[in-house]
C-alpha cells in the first residue's frame, strides 16, 4: 500500500514495545459486536493507473467548460487562470500546511492572508476584510447574522435580485435560529421598490449587484434609506471581476460587503471549493465572523503576522462565538491573492473592460435573434433573455449541439413563471466564433 510506510516487521516490533499481542487489543474499548471482523463491502486497494482510469472515465462523462462555447454564469464564472496560480498553490509548504495557529512557522500563510485581507478591502472599498468564508452564499448568511448582532434586530430584507441559492441559504440559516426573513419576489428587471420594505425593525437589507439576472443596481439610495432606519446595507456580488469597472459597494455606502471570489483564481469545480469574501467597517470588527490576520512584531522586533481577535471564534468563545466557522478557504484565498497580484489594478480593470465589451457584443448579437428579447439594460458581463419558449428545453437542445448557452431561470426559480428566461454570461474566454455559434444555434432552436 503506497500510502503506508509501516512494514509487517515494523508493526510487530511496535506492538511489542506497546506490550500487546495484536492490534485489536488497542481497540478493546469498542463494545462487543461493534468491532468489525470483515472488511467493509468495498473494493480492495487499486494502483494509481487504475484509479486514474476510473476517475478519468467519470471525468470524461462531463462536458468541460473550455471545450465548448460557454455562457454559463449565474453565480460562478469561467475565467482564465494563469498557470502561475495553480503551480504555487500546489507547493508543499502551502498545500500541506495547517491553519496558522503557530505563527513562528506559518508566516507564509499569514502574510498572504494579510495581503488577501488588504486586497479584498481595497476591491470592495471597505475598511477591513476577514481571511475568507466558505463561499459567497454562506458568507451572506453570516453577514445577516452579524447584522442581527450589530443592530440587535432580527429581521432581514432580501432583494429579489439576490441569487436564489443565496436567499435559500440565508432563509435556512436564520429561520432555524428563529429570525425573520422578508424575501422579495424574483426581480428580473431591477424594478422592485426595496426601500419601501425597510422599517425600524429591519436589521439589514441584502442587495446583490450585478444581481442574479445581470442587472447593475445603484446601491446609494438603498444605503441612505437603510441608514435612516438604523439598518445595515449588505451588498453582495457573485462576479468579483465586475469590481474592476463598477463603483465599489463601499463607495456606495454598504456596511457589509459579501462576495463570491471564485472569479479570481479559483476554477469552476462544479461548484466548490470557492472562496467567500467578507468586508466591513473597522468599527464592526469584533462582530465579524471568521478568521482575521493581524500585523504584529516578534520577540526581536521583526514584523510578523498572527491570527488575531480570536476571542470571537469558536475554539475560544465556544457557544458565544460570532460564528462556528473553523476551516475556511485558505488555499483558495491564496489562489485569489496570487491571481490578483498578477492582475494588479491595471490588469483587473482591463479584464473587466474585456468582459463588459464581450457582454455588449453578445447582447447586441442576441437581440438580433428573432424572438429574443434582452431584458437587461445596465449590466456588467451577464444578461437575461426572454425567449419565445421555455429556456430549459432550449438549453438542452443547444447542449446537444455542443454549446452551453446559459442558465434557465427556472433552474433557480422553479415554478415561478420564469420559464422563458435565460441567463447568459460572457467573459474573456468567449471568442467571436463562440458568440457566432451561439447566435446560430439559438436562431435554429427558436425557428
Amino acid at each position: 500500500m503506497r500510502y503506508l510506510p509501516l512494514t509487517e516487521a515494523d508493526r510487530a516490533s511496535m506492538l511489542a514495545r506497546i506490550g500487546v499481542a495484536e492490534i485489536d487489543a488497542l481497540f478493546a474499548d469498542v463494545p462487543d459486536g461493534a468491532l468489525l471482523r470483515d472488511l467493509p463491502d468495498l473494493p480492495r486497494r487499486k494502483g494509481e493507473m487504475e484509479v486514474e482510469r476510473i476517475l478519468g472515465r467519470m471525468a470524461a462523462r462531463n462536458v468541460a467548460a473550455s471545450s465548448v462555447p460557454f455562457f454559463v454564469g449565474a453565480g460562478a464564472y469561467k475565467h482564465h487562470i494563469p498557470a502561475t496560480v495553480d503551480h504555487v498553490i500546489q507547493r508543499s509548504e502551502f498545500l500541506t500546511s495547517y491553519t496558522p495557529y503557530q505563527p513562528e512557522i506559518a508566516q507564509g500563510t499569514l502574510q498572504y492572508l494579510f495581503e488577501f485581507q488588504t486586497q479584498v478591502a481595497a476591491l470592495t472599498g471597505m475598511e477591513v476584510a476577514n481571511a475568507s468564508m466558505y463561499d459567497g452564499s454562506t458568507g451572506t448568511a453570516e453577514a445577516v447574522l452579524m447584522a442581527h448582532r450589530v443592530t440587535r434586530r432580527r429581521k432581514a430584507v432580501l432583494s429579489g435580485g439576490l441569487h436564489a441559492h443565496y436567499a435559500e441559504v440565508v432563509r435556512t440559516t436564520t429561520q432555524m435560529a428563529g429570525d425573520e426573513v422578508v424575501s422579495l419576489p424574483p426581480d428580473v428587471t431591477a424594478s422592485e421598490d426595496i426601500i419601501a420594505r425597510i422599517d425600524d425593525e429591519t436589521s439589514c437589507v441584502v442587495v446583490q449587484s450585478p444581481d442574479v439576472f445581470g442587472n447593475l443596481r445603484d446601491l446609494r439610495p438603498i444605503a441612505a434609506a437603510a441608514q435612516k432606519h438604523g439598518a445595515l446595507l449588505i451588498a453582495v456580488f457573485t462576479e468579483a471581476v465586475s469590481l474592476g469597472l463598477v463603483e465599489s459597494p463601499g463607495a456606495q455606502g454598504a456596511d457589509i460587503v459579501v462576495g463570491e471570489g471564485q472569479s479570481i483564481g479559483v476554477p469552476l469545480s462544479f461548484g466548490g471549493p470557492y472562496v467567500g469574501l467578507f468586508a466591513t467597517r473597522q468599527k464592526y470588527i469584533r462582530q465579524m465572523p471568521g478568521r482575521l490576520c493581524g500585523e504584529t512584531v516578534d520577540a526581536e522586533g521583526r514584523r510578523g503576522f498572527v491570527l488575531t481577535l480570536s476571542t470571537r471564534e469558536q475554539h475560544i468563545r465556544r457557544d458565544k462565538a460570532t460564528s462556528n466557522i473553523c476551516t475556511n478557504s485558505g488555499l483558495c484565498c491564496l489562489a485569489f491573492t496570487i491571481h490578483m497580484s498578477l492582475l494588479g489594478e491595471a490588469g483587473l480593470s482591463r479584464l473587466a473592460r474585456i468582459n463588459h465589451a464581450a457582454a455588449i457584443k453578445l447582447a447586441d448579437a442576441l437581440a438580433a435573434v428573432p424572438g429574443v428579447e434582452v431584458m437587461t439594460k445596465a449590466f456588467f458581463n451577464e444578461i437575461t433573455l426572454r425567449l419565445p419558449k421555455p429556456a430549459a428545453g432550449v438549453v438542452e437542445t443547444l447542449a446537444g449541439q455542443g454549446i452551453l448557452a446559459g442558465v434557465p431561470a427556472s433552474r433557480l426559480y422553479p415554478g415561478q413563471g420564469l420559464d422563458d428566461l435565460l441567463i447568459v454570461a460572457s467573459t474573456e474566454v468567449n471568442t467571436d466564433e463562440d458568440r457566432a455559434a451561439l447566435v446560430t444555434a439559438l436562431t435554429g432552436a427558436l425557428a
Partner: protein
C-alpha cells in the same frame, strides 16, 4: 532577506497578465462606473513567483516534517488526488450546466456517498457542507427539522455537549438557537452514562459526542448513551473529527449515531491548505434522512436491452436445446427488466436449470447501464418522503474535495483504509509507550486511539509550560502538538502521528521528545522560554496584535504628513 508585502513591491501600472485592450465600446453600466481607484498594485510574473515561493519557505507542512497535531489528522496528501481534481471534466465544469452534461460528476458524488454510507453503516449522506463545522450545522439542522416535524420545536431545545468537545460543537448549537448544556468530565476521560442520564428529559434535542473522543479514547458507552437519548426522544450527533481511528474497524451507525459529519480533509486526506478548503459531508440515520437538505443526487438508472435474442425463456430453452448451456448474455437479451435485479436473475437461472440448461458467464459485466443521474435541487419537485430542511450552500458542495477523497478511497480500498486506521492507532500507542515514563498521562497508561493525550503534571516545578515545550519542539524541527485542548486536562498535549509516518520517523520524533523532556526536567529553561530560536520568527506579540488590530496594509503616510504628526 525579509520578504516585503506585495504592496511594498507592486506598482499600480504593472501587470503580470497580458491582455489586449478591447475594441472601443460604449459602457452600459447604468452610470455606475468606478470613480474611486482600487489601490491594487500589480507584479510581473517573475516577481509574483518569487514573492510567493519565498513566502512558502516560511511555512511548515506535512511534506516537510511530522505534524503531530492531535485532532487534526495531518496525513499524507497524495499528488495523484491533486491531479485527478484538475481533470477538465471535474475542475472545469460549471455547477449549473445541464444535468445531461455532468453525469460523471453526479456519478462521482453517488460513488462517494456509497463509500461514506458503507464505511459508517448509515443510510444517507448530505454532501454539501463545506467543512466540519458546517457539517455539524447541517446535522443539527436536520435534527431541528425532525423535532419540528414532531411538533416539539418550542420545547425540545437543549443540546448536551461534553466539556471535552471541540469549540465548534457548542458554537454550532448556539448558532441555530439551541441552548447548550455541559456534560461534566470524569477522571477517566470518558463520558459516563450516569452523568448523561440525569440531564435527559423532554427538552433534550440531542447530545453532541466526539468518538473517539478528544482525549484520544474510544467512548465505550456510546451505544448506551445513544439508546438513552433515543429513549428520551433526542438524537445522537457524533462529531466525526476522529473518524480516522476507526475507518473499517467500527461503523458509527452500529453505535446508534443519528448524524455525523466527516472531515474529508482529515480522514480522507484532502489537503488542509493552510486552513482550508475542507469538506464536511454528514451521514444521517434513517430517522433523519428525510430532512437532508437540497440538492441531492438520485439514480434514475435504466438498463439497456440487447437488440437481438429470443423473446422469452421458453424461446431461449428452445434455442439452447442440444447445447445444454446458454450464456448470461443470451439470458439478458430476453429484455426482461426483472432480470436485472438479483432475484429476477436467480429466478431465470432456476427456470432454465429446470429445463436442463446451465447458464454460463457472469452477468454483471454484460449489463449495459444508461446511468441517468439527476440532481434534485427543488424540494417541491421531489415529493416522496423527502422533507428537506432547506439549503446549506449555493450549488452542490465541495466537488474538488470529493474527487480527492474518492481518489484516496479507491487507492486504499477496504483493506487499505482499515490498515490505515490500525496503523494510526498503532503509531499513537507506540508514542505513548515510548514517552509514558517521562511524560504524564492524565487517564493512566491505557491504550489510546489514534492520538495520545498527555497533561503537564510532569512539568510541575520545571518552570516550563506546555506552551514553552511546544515552541521548543519547533527548534527540533517539528510542528508543535495540539496544546491546551481538550480543556478538561491541565496543560493538555495531544499528539496524533497518523499512519503516514514510518517507524524511523516515529523513532526520531520520540528521541527528540525524550531529549526535550529530559531537558525540561533538568530545568534547562533557557532552551524553552524564548523558543523557538531557529524559526523564521521568534514568538510573536499576539496580545499587541489583538489590542490594536492592524488587519490590512495601508500606504505609509507621506513624509510631510509624518512630520506634522
Amino acid at each position: 532577506q525579509e520578504e516585503p508585502l506585495l504592496f511594498e513591491i507592486g506598482r499600480a501600472d504593472v501587470t503580470g497578465v497580458d491582455l489586449d485592450e478591447p475594441e472601443a465600446f460604449t459602457p452600459r453600466l447604468g452610470g455606475l462606473e468606478r470613480t474611486v481607484p482600487i489601490g491594487l498594485p500589480g507584479l510581473s510574473e517573475p516577481e509574483t513567483m518569487r514573492h510567493y515561493v519565498r513566502l512558502s519557505q516560511q511555512n511548515y507542512g506535512i511534506d516537510t516534517g511530522l505534524f503531530p497535531l492531535g485532532s487534526c489528522t495531518m496525513k499524507h496528501n497524495a499528488r495523484l488526488n491533486e491531479k485527478m481534481a484538475r481533470l477538465p471534466g471535474f475542475g472545469d465544469v460549471h455547477p449549473l450546466q445541464p444535468v445531461s452534461t455532468v453525469q460523471g460528476a453526479l456519478e462521482l458524488m453517488a460513488e462517494l456517498s456509497r463509500y461514506l454510507t458503507e464505511l459508517t453503516g448509515m443510510p444517507a449522506v448530505a454532501l454539501q457542507p463545506k467543512a466540519g463545522a458546517h457539517g455539524e450545522l447541517c446535522g443539527l439542522m436536520a435534527i431541528k427539522a425532525a423535532i419540528a416535524a414532531r411538533g416539539e420545536a418550542e420545547t425540545r431545545n437543549v443540546v448536551l455537549v461534553p466539556e471535552s468537545a471541540h469549540g465548534t460543537n457548542p458554537a454550532t448549537a448556539a448558532l441555530i438557537g439551541f441552548k447548550v448544556r455541559s456534560v461534566p468530565a470524569r477522571d477517566d476521560g470518558w463520558v459516563h452514562i450516569a452523568d448523561v442520564r440525569p440531564l435527559l428529559g423532554p427538552d433534550i434535542a440531542a447530545i453532541m459526542l466526539t468518538n473517539p473522543n478528544t482525549c484520544g479514547l474510544f467512548e465505550p458507552r456510546a451505544k448506551m448513551i445513544a439508546d438513552a437519548l433515543h429513549e428520551c426522544g433526542g438524537y445522537f450527533y457524533c462529531d466525526g473529527a476522529n473518524f480516522n481511528a476507526i475507518v473499517g474497524k467500527v461503523r458509527p451507525g452500529d453505535l446508534g449515531v443519528d448524524a455525523m459529519h466527516i472531515n474529508l480533509h482529515k480522514t480522507f486526506s484532502t489537503p488542509h491548505g493552510g486552513g482550508g478548503p475542507g469538506a464536511g459531508p454528514v451521514v444521517l440515520s434513517e430517522r433523519l434522512a428525510p430532512y437532508a437538505p437540497v440538492p441531492f443526487v438520485v439514480d434514475v438508472e435504466e438498463v439497456s436491452y440487447k437488440d437481438a435474442g429470443p423473446a422469452s425463456v421458453s424461446a431461449l430453452v428452445e434455442a439452447a436445446r442440444g447445447r445444454g448451456t446458454v450464456t448470461s448474455d443470451e439470458v439478458l437479451a430476453l429484455r426482461k427488466p426483472e432480470l436485472f435485479s438479483k432475484d429476477g436473475w436467480d429466478a431465470a437461472v432456476a427456470e432454465l436449470r429446470a429445463a436442463g440448461i446451465e447458464v454460463t458467464g457472469d452477468p454483471s459485466p454484460l449489463v449495459v447501464r444508461h446511468s441517468s443521474l439527476d440532481l434534485i435541487e427543488d424540494a417541491a419537485w421531489y415529493d416522496e418522503d423527502a422533507q428537506p430542511f432547506g439549503r446549506m450552500v449555493a450549488f452542490h458542495g465541495q466537488m474538488g474535495m470529493f474527487v480527492r477523497a474518492l481518489a484516496y478511497m479507491l487507492s486504499h480500498g477496504a483493506d487499505g483504509m482499515r490498515q490505515a486506521s490500525e496503523d494510526a492507532v498503532l503509531g499513537a500507542n507506540y508514542i505513548r509507550a515510548s514517552l509514558s515514563d517521562l511524560m504524564s498521562l492524565p487517564f493512566g497508561d491505557k491504550p489510546c486511539m489514534h492520538e495520545v493525550l498527555f497533561d503537564d503534571t510532569w512539568l510541575a516545578d520545571t518552570g516550563v509550560t506546555t506552551l514553552d515545550f511546544a515552541k521548543a519542539m519547533i527548534d527540533e524541527g517539528y510542528h508543535p502538538m495540539t496544546m491546551y485542548f481538550p480543556l478538561v486536562v491541565h496543560g493538555a498535549m495531544l499528539i496524533e502521528p497518523t499512519e503516514s509516518e514510518s517507524k524511523a520517523s516515529l523513532d526520531l520524533f520520540i528521541a527528540a521528545m525524550r531529549d526535550l523532556a529530559m531537558a525540561a526536567k533538568a530545568k534547562q529553561t533557557e532552551r524553552f522560554k524564548g523558543a523557538p530560536f531557529h524559526a523564521p520568527r521568534r514568538r510573536l506579540d499576539e496580545t499587541g496584535a489583538a489590542r490594536k488590530p492592524v488587519l490590512r496594509w495601508t500606504p505609509p503616510a507621506p513624509v510631510a504628513a509624518q512630520a506634522a504628526e
